[in-house]
Amino acid sequence: MTAPDTNPDAATATQDQISAEIREIHRSYEQRRAEGGPEETSARMHFPPYRSSLLRSPTKSLHHADPEEIELHAPAFGERDVHPLEADLTIQHGGEPIGERMVVTGRVIDGDGRPVRHQLVELWQANAAGRYVHKRDQHPAPLDPNFTGIGRTITNAQGEYSFTTIKPAPYPWKNHFNAWRPAHIHFSLFGTDFTQRLVTQMYFPGDPLFDLDPIYQSITDQKARDRLVATYDHSVSEHEWNTGYRWNIVLSGSNRTWFESDAAAEEEH
């Protein structure tokens, strides 16, 4: 087999080639799982069907580090940093954006189930035509003058967040010929520890592009892939106004030793 082209704009491979590569990696993972191999709970950094990963993922094992004091803390954000209206992506301009108005809401917890309180959540996405406001996005779909596609919020005392936005559309990219990304919303999250930092993408249920997408499929385990898919929640939908999706987020484990007094102190912070 010849080495894959690492030019991100080459678009040489066909979807069938990419899909075959994905299937082979997943088959190999499932075989190792059946033989007692470890469960993979996140994406693989080196995932050849995603061509841009070839030159940008580490080749050496990550080196174990025992967290020091600074790594057990994370930057703090609050109302000083984020205005409440930044959680509504549909009111940032003079008029209503085009598309399906939706609310996405959920809870951010850590690996021990503790709510991540009063912490920053950032979000960005394409518009209802699949176009980002970005100079590198040359997809010939219309920009929407009433939609920038960025939002921020601070979680509440229960770790909950809520954004009002427009449902994004799929869009084409150049990983391979006729490549399309499933519709998704990018999320950026912080925990209580520096090490809990997470940037990821939320997807919509039943997307027909899931099987074809090397970014989504870089998560080799189906159970882990499912964790990126929001659920439609009719209790979040509002009469004649918006549809509703729920997506809960679990950060990795905190390495702090937690005491009940910490929760009280956090509450005051």
């Binding site: 991100p8 990963s53 030159l55 690996g111 870089s218 990126l228």
Partner: protein, 203 residues
């Protein structure tokens, strides 16, 4: 708050998987003065700068970097205001995207040791298109040779790998630290307890 680096390694809930930051974070994540942890005119200001390289040795033009550090006395900030610089609060956190030639810079202060004799370092988180999960590393200050020698992380690395974590002090007092995602100078990236990451290179 009491903390311990040896917390119980008990069962945890499965984490939400990571996905790449992609190429289109430009309007969302960088923000005004994100690279200025202190004003460049601050008497203790130092410029931390460098270039991010890929496995072909080419500069990476679409990477996003974040730093997190104590102040010059070693104190860890719990102040709000990282996103809205007020000119005097040291919040200890910054974010910047590299420019078209892969270069980045932060205006910050030299971090102090968090305990006497500890080697001071700045934490760095790397995001990029093509990188499916964030990478963590430490940027050690090069100045205190004794503290570097006794640092447990640096001591656990072979000499050539160890050097990738130590910044260069320039004659101006500024710090230079390049990030090599791959290659002979590949930066040592860190894995912490209870923080699963998958390089995909294990087979």
């Amino acid at each position: 708050m009491t903390t311990s680096p040896t917390s119980a390694q008990h069962e945890q809930l499965p984490q939400t998987p990571s996905q790449t930051v992609g190429p289109f974070y430009g309007y969302a994540l960088p923000y005004k003065d994100g690279e200025k942890l202190v004003d460049p005119a601050h008497p203790d200001a130092v410029r931390l700068h460098g270039t991010v390289y890929d496995g072909a040795g080419a500069a990476v033009p679409d990477s996003l970097l974040e730093i997190w550090q104590p102040d010059s006395s070693g104190k860890i900030s719990s102040e709000h205001g990282s996103l809205l610089r007020d000119g005097h609060t040291f919040a200890g956190w910054g974010r910047t995207s590299v420019d078209n030639s892969g270069q980045y810079w932060f205006n910050t202060v030299n971090p102090g040791p968090t305990a006497p004799g500890k080697a001071p370092f700045i934490l760095l988180t790397v995001f990029a298109r093509g990188l499916m999960d964030r990478l963590f590393t430490r940027i050690y200050l090069p100045d205190d040779a004794e503290a570097l020698t006794s640092d447990s992380l640096l001591s656990s690395l072979p000499e050539d790998r160890r050097q990738t974590l130590i910044a260069e002090r320039e004659p101006s007092g500024n710090l230079r630290f390049d990030v090599h995602l791959q290659g002979t100078q590949e930066t040592v990236f860190l894995q912490y307890p209870r923080t699963p990451q998958f390089t995909g290179r294990d087979d």
